[in-house]
Symmetry: C2
Subunit: 349 residues, 2 copies
Amino acid sequence: MHVIIDTHCHYTTEPQALHQFRDKQLAGLADAARKPASTDLGIPDDVVRKSVEPQLALQKERSIDLTIFSPRAAGMAHHVGTEATSHEWTTLCNNLIHRVCSLWPENFAGVGQLPQAPGAPPANCVPELERIVNELGFVGVNLNPDPTGGRWSEPPLTDRQWYPLYEKLCELDVPATIHVSSSCNRNFHHTGAHYINADTTAFMQLIQGDLFSDFPTLKLIIPHGGGAVPFHWGRYRGLCLSLKKKSLLDHVMNNVVFDTCVYHLPGIELLTKVVPAENILFATEMLGAVPGIDPETGHHFDDTKRYIDQVSDLTAAARQAIFEKNARRVFPRLNRRLAKRGYAGAEMH
Amino acid sequence: MHVIIDTHCHYTTEPQALHQFRDKQLAGLADAARKPASTDLGIPDDVVRKSVEPQLALQKERSIDLTIFSPRAAGMAHHVGTEATSHEWTTLCNNLIHRVCSLWPENFAGVGQLPQAPGAPPANCVPELERIVNELGFVGVNLNPDPTGGRWSEPPLTDRQWYPLYEKLCELDVPATIHVSSSCNRNFHHTGAHYINADTTAFMQLIQGDLFSDFPTLKLIIPHGGGAVPFHWGRYRGLCLSLKKKSLLDHVMNNVVFDTCVYHLPGIELLTKVVPAENILFATEMLGAVPGIDPETGHHFDDTKRYIDQVSDLTAAARQAIFEKNARRVFPRLNRRLAKRGYAGAEMH
């Protein structure tokens, strides 16, 4: 019995009460009198339920069994306010994801955001990482490689400031998805430049460094098909060699996977041609990253399952790896949950 | 009679005297006593000649007839020193390109750098643009979309601050290649992240804006295959629609071309599949952007002609457009020169 796992969706249909809280929270930075009175959003279960209906409808329509679900990426906005702002906001956003996952435990598995903030040591995020995994049952976390929102004024991912977080990720056996948030830099459109640039940037940082010598079991997901990397696979293979590293596959790809948030067939064809199938996770980033219907196909841009189904060169085993097996390897806590529910483990395929 | 035009090469084998000047120039920022005594580099013709021999040898080996040649991109370093530093350095670098082009007028056509500097209005670059085109006979120019070297703290390309430069480009009928320089941001490796990110960023800025309504004849080259854009062609088509613009082809691609600095066959296959052939310029960025031999093919990564030759789907007309015709359309001053030399014009094909 197979499961199709969408590894990258954000909660973009959140109840209005969450947005209202955020407005008050940020207004409170300028005028303490406007601070929200309480962190209890007072959202009843049926409002949470209703808010996720569009997601559930698309799951069904596209034959997706389970969605790995995290707070809206652009909403994290770690560059806004103080570390305390980020912490309060993060807690609320993660708790709301937990409510969705508790209401539909068959349909969703949670991934959290972290209370990052410019200038704050990433080690400060360890308690929230422990809470979301140990108390809320989340299976992964989104890690923002640029908490400055497009100013890129913090150290790269290979800097030792991040090590306490990597240690905890390894200890808890959860992966991190490298995902920036909104951009306060007018040069960078968030979904059109900042997201894709961040993917490319993170990958190149991993080539330059030797992070996986220090953390051989660390697992990182680079979303949006790995940014520009597969298109420039020759460039990255060449740079890896000219920097005197091992081959790209040996140096980076034992610990890194890309997802399939690439919104046209030729892109998915390239991805599956140059990147080994075991390094690819099925994902859609629905709803909303790239909304609408492609006039060239008559189908939604973000219906990435259609593209994968159309790649004629993929073996059944590769397809199975992309849709299920790799996700169960990269998210071991999800794998254990699925095994308990009677789905044969990744090892069995 | 056909000409094969490599539209993107930098002078990366410059005589040592140029580097020595630069060291003294920058040392002079800290200690005026160390300033270079003269801007006369004292480089004899035979040293210039010898320095370009590797480039000429590769031209011959790869059957390239003409190279569009500009100063080392990473060398521009507009973020270093003052506007006066940039102006002095730019003049020297452009003059050296002019010497190469004068020594081998059949083999090289010049493209210049601009004396950009953070905080300095781009309009200040107009006199140097006029000089390199009218006095040195250059056919194009490299325009740095981030003169802050990876801090990205200046306005986007659609900002009106750039308009005087665009007006002059249109008047002189020369294209601009959007090309960043070195990175002073430790997050961004220059050739592995900053260059590719800048290409992607510039393209998205053009989608967000309406620059070509104001400058219908402006021609921009986005190098390195257009950054991440062709791989995410569906994303950009979708974003263009969701931003209520015309289709991507109508909104941007009448004025923008990509080059073929993509260092593996599957990347070139994708590029030529999703991007119309008239929007692609042959280019290699040799020597040095991605040095070395690809162990998978036994050939140099940057021998991009081999990849194009291997794309089986390309018609003879498309191949001709990529190798010659498009370059002659985008660089009209080069086209006129070639026509004078007896090569039938682009219009003739």
